[in-house]
């Protein structure tokens, strides 16, 4: 009995140890995690506005304003440290950032500025009415895909 408990405990420790090791082995550059999380925060807030724009969710002026203000805040973050050399899809498996980013870093940063402009335009009108959200979300999508067009690996 005692022996099997010890064995179980040992196995548990081993399992957790292995998981921790596996996590360590994944060895994802923290900058990659940071920028991917940043993208998720964008998507989360755009989804709130997008659901209203698609009329799958009822328009809520206060909520729309919150989401738009969040986008402004997210776009204001300087992303310079998100993109260290050697973190493209040619170096890290599962990453979608194309090497073109590092070949055209200036253009890449200019395209990010597009997000500043588009989110500010959204924040200006988000609390007004549904039609304004439906109008402004097009440019927001355009700002996202301006980067995704050149700098993200296309796949499913």
């Amino acid at each position: 009995m005692m022996k099997s408990v010890t064995l179980l405990a040992g196995a548990t420790v081993l399992a957790f140890g292995t998981m921790a090791l596996a996590d360590g082995h994944a060895d994802v550059n923290p900058a990659v995690k940071a920028r991917q999380s940043h993208m998720q925060l964008y998507a989360h807030n755009i989804a709130i506005l997008g659901g209203m724009a698609q009329e799958s969710v009822e328009y809520d002026a206060a909520l729309a304003q919150i989401a738009a203000d969040n986008l402004v805040a997210l776009a204001s973050i300087n992303e310079t440290t998100y993109w260290p050399e050697g973190t493209g899809n040619d170096m890290i498996e599962g990453v979608k950032a194309l090497p073109a980013i590092w070949e055209n870093m200036d253009d890449f940063m200019v395209k990010q500025d597009g997000m500043v402009t588009a989110s500010a335009a959204m924040a200006e009108v988000a609390g007004t009415d549904l039609a304004s959200v439906q109008g402004a979300i097009r440019d927001l999508g355009g700002a996202c895909s301006a980067c995704h067009r050149e700098y993200r690996q296309r796949d499913d």
């Binding site: 997008g50 999508g141 995704h148 296309r154 499913d156």
Partner: protein, 287 residues
């Protein structure tokens, strides 16, 4: 006796090969020659057919060409199709342009490489072709010379493309049964205009589309990533999701379109809601 039989078979073989590889220009009677197309209507055909995505490198109206298309057979460069008389197609007749688009035959009777999706445009309604041509004639000219394709032997023998066309080109619809006007419109937009299948359908060793795996995703010819399947079982999007994506570029989880598909969405966003719904209906009807 036996020898003569061989020679006879050889002669027949050469005759067949000669005939198969000959160009088959567009039958002039398919076009209402002399009718002037509507440039206004043609602008929408231009968007639906996605001409600018390949023939303009910088997204401007000047269709100067130059964009590279890497494939297993070599690298193709989109030619200048602006109205420049020397370097574009400004000197071509309406028939010449239609013959190029719908039969893949140049004014001097040579085959075009199927990187140019004439196998799709072959299904275009001739009045739409004339409208499109009228619109092309309103666009600015550009004197940039077309770049020669970088294609090795044996694909550099254009005559052999006659055999390719014999095997893979045709005007039959892939989706045979369309029982509503919406589905028929969707089929027209997808199979005759949008040439979605050119990327989203896998190809065989000779570069012909595997119609048995229609729209089920394919390797990216550039070697990077995969082009996704649009089959409803794989995509899992509703008709509304598809139409909204084609209008705004947003996926159902509010990621956005990327890569070459950005240009496609910009084009399809110019069509009306009914057309985007029709494309969605077509994709949902794939089997």
């Amino acid at each position: 006796m036996r020898k003569r039989w061989f020679i006879g078979a050889g002669v027949v073989g050469i005759a067949v090969a000669y005939s198969v590889t000959a160009t088959r220009p567009l039958a002039p009677e398919r076009l209402e020659i002399g009718r002037i197309g509507s440039a206004t209507d043609g602008a929408l055909i231009f968007a639906a057919a996605g001409c600018g995505s390949c023939h303009s490198e910088d997204g401007t109206d000047a269709l100067a060409g130059g964009k590279a298309f890497v494939s297993d057979f070599g690298t193709f460069y989109a030619p200048n199709i602006s109205m420049d008389v020397d370097h574009g197609i400004g000197g071509w007749s309406d028939y010449d342009i239609a013959n190029a688009m719908m039969a893949g035959v140049s004014p001097d009777g040579a085959h075009y490489y199927p990187a140019f999706p004439y196998t799709t445009y072959a299904k275009m309604d001739p009045p739409d072709a004339l409208d499109l041509i009228a619109y092309l004639r309103t666009l600015p000219s550009d004197a940039t010379p077309s770049r020669a394709h970088d294609v090795g032997f044996p694909f550099n023998i254009r005559r052999s493309l006659g055999g390719w066309k014999f095997l893979f080109a045709g005007t039959d619809w892939v989706m045979q049964d369309v029982d509503t006007p919406e589905l028929e419109r969707g089929r027209y937009l997808v199979e005759a205009m949008g040439h979605c299948a050119e990327c989203h359908t896998p190809r065989n060793a000779l570069g012909g589309l595997k119609t048995g795996e229609w729209m089920q995703g394919a390797a990216n010819p550039s070697g990077e990533g995969r082009i996704p399947s649009l089959h409803p079982d794989d995509l899992g999007w509703s008709g509304g999701d598809i139409a909204y994506y084609l209008d705004t570029g947003f996926t159902p989880d509010f990621d956005t379109v990327g890569g070459e598909m950005v240009d496609v969405v910009e084009n399809i966003a110019q069509l009306n809601d009914a057309d985007r719904d029709a494309i969605a209906a077509y994709l949902l009807a794939l089997d």
